[in-house]
C-alpha cells in the first residue's frame, strides 16, 4: 500500500528544501487523510488534523534523526493530531452531548448491517484504540511497527488491539435492530 519515500528527498527537506517537503507531503497526503478520517470519523476534523500534521512536520523535520523513519514519524504525528482533535471533540460533546454522523453511503461493498454495526462499535472505542485498529487493519502494520509508530510498548498495542477487536466482534454479533437511524444518533 505504501511507497517508501526516498531518503535523499527527506534529507533535502530536513535541510530546509521546501520543494522536497512539498513532494513528501503530496506523496503522503492521501494516506494521512485516510488515516485521520478513519480515526476521527469526520472529514472536516480530518482535514484539520492533516494540515496540523504537515505544518508540524515541517517545523520539526530538522529534528528527525533518522530519515528512514520518516513515514513512521509522519504516522505518529497524524495520530497525535487526531488525538488533539479528539480531545476538542470530547469537550464539545460533553457540552452538547450529540455527535453528528455522516449518513452511510451504500455502495455495494459489504452489507449495510456490517457497516452500521462496525461503525457503531468503532465509535465506542477510545481514540488510542481506534488508532491501533486503523494502523493494523487499514495500513497493514504489524504490532511491533504500530508500537514503534505510537511510541508505546508492543504489549500495550496488543492489549488495545485485543480489546478493540473484541468490541468490534461483539458489535458485529449484536442484533442490528434499533441501530439504524435516519439522519444521526446519539453518541
Amino acid at each position: 500500500m505504501e511507497q517508501p519515500v526516498q531518503r535523499d528527498v527527506v534529507e533535502a527537506a530536513r535541510r530546509g528544501d521546501h520543494e522536497a517537503f512539498e513532494a513528501l507531503a503530496i506523496a503522503s497526503g492521501d494516506r494521512l487523510y485516510a488515516i485521520a478520517c478513519l480515526i476521527l470519523r469526520d472529514r472536516q476534523r480530518a482535514e484539520d488534523a492533516v494540515q496540523e500534521t504537515l505544518v508540524h512536520a515541517w517545523r520539526e523535520l530538522p529534528r528527525l534523526r533518522d530519515a528512514d523513519r520518516f513515514e513512521a514519524w509522519l504516522r505518529r504525528l497524524v495520530v497525535n493530531a487526531c488525538a488533539d482533535q479528539g480531545r476538542r471533540q470530547r469537550r464539545w460533546a460533553a457540552e452538547v452531548n450529540v455527535v453528528h454522523l455522516e449518513p452511510a453511503i451504500e455502495d455495494g461493498a459489504g452489507s449495510l448491517a456490517d457497516r452500521d454495526q462496525l461503525e457503531r462499535g468503532f465509535r465506542r472505542l477510545k481514540p488510542e484504540q481506534r488508532a491501533v485498529v486503523v494502523l493494523h487493519y487499514y495500513v497493514g502494520l504489524p504490532v511491533p511497527e504500530i508500537a514503534d509508530t505510537l511510541g508505546v510498548p508492543a504489549g500495550t498495542v496488543k492489549s488495545r488491539l485485543h480489546y478493540a477487536t473484541t468490541a468490534l466482534r461483539a458489535a458485529l454479533e449484536a442484533d442490528g435492530r434499533g441501530v439504524l437511524a435516519a439522519n444521526g444518533r446519539m453518541a
Binding site: G16, I26, A34, V50, Q51, L54, V55, P62, G110
Partner: protein, 361 residues
C-alpha cells in the same frame, strides 16, 4: 479461527471501503501557505531563541525605539488585538527605519545582530547579519552541518551544533568568537551532543546527548550526566536555574527535569498547548495553533493561557526578546512583527520574505 479471520476481514474491508481516496487540494494549499511562510523565517532566523545579539546598551536602545514607535502608534492608530487585517496592509519599504505607513504598523529599527543558518552550495553554516538586514556575512565555514546557533551571555560568542555524520548521528557543541572566528569545542563525545541551551543566569549549559541530558559549565568544564534517556527527548530550554523542560518525542509530552535529582515531572500530558517556545527566563511559552488564533502565551507548564494579539489563522511565535517581555513573530503575510506581551506596540519589524539572505559562498 475461521470466524476470527472473518472478523478481521470484515474490519479490513469496512475500513478500506470507508477510507477517502484523496486529500482535498485546499488542505495542501493551506498547509504549504503556512510552511512557506515559516520557511522564510527559518531561513532568516535560526531554530532556537534567543537569536539576536543584544548587549544591554543595544537592547536598551532598541527597547527605547520600540517604545517611541509604540507611542507614535498609540497616538495615530490604536492597534487592534482582535485580528487587524495586517496581511492586507500596504507594502512597506524594505529600508529600516521608515516613516509611518499610516496603517498603525511601522517598521522598527532593532539594533544588534542576527545569527542564522544558511545552506550555500550544500554547505550548512552559521551566518550573521545586522538586525537591519545589512552586512550579511559567513561566520563558520566547515564541511559539517553547523546548526542551532545560540548567543552566549554578553553577545560576543555563539554556541552551535556541528554535525559531522548523520547516520548514526555524530555531533559536538562548539563555541565561536564572533570577533575572531576562533572556534572551541565544548564537547568531545564522539557521539551526539547537540541542542545546547544556556541557563537563565548564564553559568550553565544543558545539552542533549545520545545517553541522556548533560550539564556543563559555560566554558565546557564540569560535564556531568543528569538524566539517562529512555528514548528521544528534545531539550526545549531551562525552566529556571535548577531544571530544564524537554519534550518526550515518543509521546509528545512535556516534562520538567530537575537537574539536581534527575527527577522527571510530566507537565502537560493531556493539556494544550503542547508546543510553543520558552522565554529566555523559562517562565512563559509563546504559541499559536489551530484553536488559538494569533499569538498566545502560557506559563511554562501550560497553565494561565492568555491571548496576546491578533486573530490570524496562523502566526508563528518565532522568538523572544531577551527581556522575556516582547515577542518577534511572523504571520502569513511574510512580515515579522514585534509585540509586547500585553498586546501593545504591535510593530512591523522587517519583511521576512524579502529578507531571505543570499550570502555569497
Amino acid at each position: 479461527m475461521t470466524e476470527e479471520r472473518s472478523v478481521d476481514e470484515r474490519i479490513s474491508a469496512w475500513l478500506l471501503d470507508e477510507a477517502p481516496s484523496q486529500l482535498p487540494d485546499r488542505v495542501l494549499r493551506q498547509a504549504f501557505g503556512e510552511t512557506r511562510a515559516t520557511r522564510q523565517v527559518r531561513t532568516l532566523l535560526p531554530w532556537r531563541s534567543p537569536m539576536l545579539r543584544f548587549t544591554p546598551a543595544t537592547f536598551a536602545a532598541g527597547a527605547a525605539a520600540i517604545a517611541l514607535l509604540a507611542v507614535g502608534i498609540a497616538l495615530s492608530t490604536r492597534p487592534s488585538t482582535s485580528g487587524p487585517p495586517i496581511g492586507s496592509a500596504s507594502p512597506a519599504p524594505t529600508g529600516i527605519p521608515a516613516a509611518s505607513l499610516g496603517s498603525g504598523l511601522v517598521p522598527v529599527a532593532l539594533t544588534g545582530e542576527v545569527a542564522f543558518v544558511a545552506t550555500v552550495d550544500g554547505n550548512t553554516d552559521i551566518y550573521l547579519m545586522n538586525a537591519d538586514r545589512s552586512n550579511v556575512r559567513r561566520l563558520t565555514d566547515d564541511p559539517a552541518e553547523d546548526q542551532n546557533p545560540e548567543w552566549l551571555p554578553g553577545g560576543m560568542k555563539l554556541m552551535f551544533d556541528r554535525r559531522t555524520q548523520l547516520d548514526p548521528e555524530l555531533a559536538e557543541i562548539y563555541v565561536v568568537d564572533v570577533a575572531t572566528g576562533i572556534e572551541t569545542a565544548l564537547t568531545n563525545t564522539h557521539e551526539r551532543a547537540a541542542g545546547a541551551r544556556v541557563s537563565p543566569d548564564g553559568t550553565k549549559i544543558a545539552y542533549e546527548h545520545a545517553a541522556g541530558v548533560f550539564v556543563m559549565n559555560i566554558d565546557g568544564s564540569g560535564q556531568r550526566r543528569v538524566f539517562t534517556a529512555d528514548g528521544f527527548y528534545t531539550l526545549l530550554g531551562w525552566s529556571n536555574g535548577a531544571s530544564v523542560v524537554m519534550r518526550r518525542e515518543a509521546s509528545q509530552e512535556l516534562v520538567r527535569l530537575d537537574i539536581a535529582s534527575g527527577k522527571l515531572t510530566t507537565l502537560s500530558e493531556a493539556e494544550e498547548p503542547r508546543n510553543g517556545i520558552l522565554s529566555p527566563d523559562g517562565e512563559l511559552r509563546a504559541f499559536s495553533d489551530a484553536t488559538h488564533r494569533g499569538i498566545w502565551v502560557a506559563a511554562a507548564d501550560g497553565s494561565a493561557v492568555r491571548h496576546v494579539v491578533g486573530d490570524w489563522t496562523r502566526a508563528y511565535a518565532t522568538m523572544w526578546m531577551p527581556d522575556s517581555r516582547h515577542l518577534l513573530f511572523a504571520q502569513g503575510d511574510g512580515w515579522l512583527y514585534v509585540v509586547a506581551l500585553d498586546g501593545s506596540g504591535l510593530t512591523r519589524w522587517t519583511e521576512a520574505l524579502a529578507a531571505a539572505p543570499r550570502p555569497s559562498p
